[in-house]
């Protein structure tokens, strides 16, 4: 997987992971992949919901040592 940008949102609470993801995504072009790392438990529902509503695609989610990592392809 070609990750174009990595966003470290660890330690941030709602609504910041989504706000930062949106900002990071604005800098990418269609088809590029954004990796988001977060420790916010709510992001598990929040980021996929945001991605779907914004026309992006969640390719993969991984949970390890309390860190959630998302790979989201820009639509």
């Amino acid at each position: 997987m070609n990750v174009a940008k990595v966003l470290d949102a660890k330690g941030l609470s709602c609504p910041m992971p989504v706000v930062k993801a949106k900002k990071a995504m604005d800098e990418l072009t269609s088809g590029q992949v954004l990796e988001v790392q977060t420790t916010d438990k709510g992001a598990k529902s929040d980021l996929p919901a945001w991605a779907q509503a914004s026309g992006h695609k969640v390719i993969d989610i991984k949970e390890e040592n309390g860190i959630l990592t998302f790979w989201i392809e820009k639509g």
Partner: protein, 160 residues
């Protein structure tokens, strides 16, 4: 995306720190959803838009009384529950810091940064004796018709 952007409008009537925080969290989330967001501040919600510094303005007696009794700026607002004469807000700010959440003044800055439309209701601004100089920069003044114009196209409309 070329289609028309979705819209979120929030009426912030409350001057409570916690309720304003909820409003601004939803607003910032909506902006991340690429919505056009309008927050229409009326009555006690206007206090969120007050500058924390004293602004030299000419006022009548009643207006001065109102100005004194209302919190000057978002950071001075009380809680809707467990305010405990001002100890509650201190506690909640401590907890906000501990959980790395964003305090209200930063949420308002973030809202401006995300290009949100922050509106002060002109009628209640006059009613409470507030002057434009006492309110933060970059806001608009409008009335019910302007709100309804936004809200009638709104996908999410909230009253807090």
């Amino acid at each position: 995306m070329s289609q028309q952007k979705k819209k979120t409008t929030i009426i912030l009537f409350s001057g409570d720190y916690d309720k304003a925080m909820a409003a601004y969290i939803i607003a910032n989330g909506a902006a991340a959803y690429d919505h056009d967001v309008t927050i229409f501040h009326t009555f006690w919600g206007l206090n969120a838009l007050r500058k924390d510094a004293h602004a030299p303005v000419q006022k009548g007696f009643l207006e001065k009384m109102f100005a004194k009794m209302m919190p000057r700026g978002a950071d001075r607002m009380g809680l809707s529950r467990m305010n405990f004469a001002g100890i509650g807000p201190k506690l909640i700010k401590h907890v906000i810091k501990k959980h790395n959440a964003m305090p209200l003044p930063q949420l308002i800055d973030m809202a401006k940064e995300q290009g949100m439309k922050l509106v002060a209701c002109q009628m209640t601004v006059d009613l409470l004796g507030l002057k434009p100089e006492e309110l933060i920069d970059g806001i608009e003044f409008a009335g019910v018709a302007a709100y309804l114009a936004d809200a009638s196209e709104g996908n999410v409309n909230l009253f807090i």
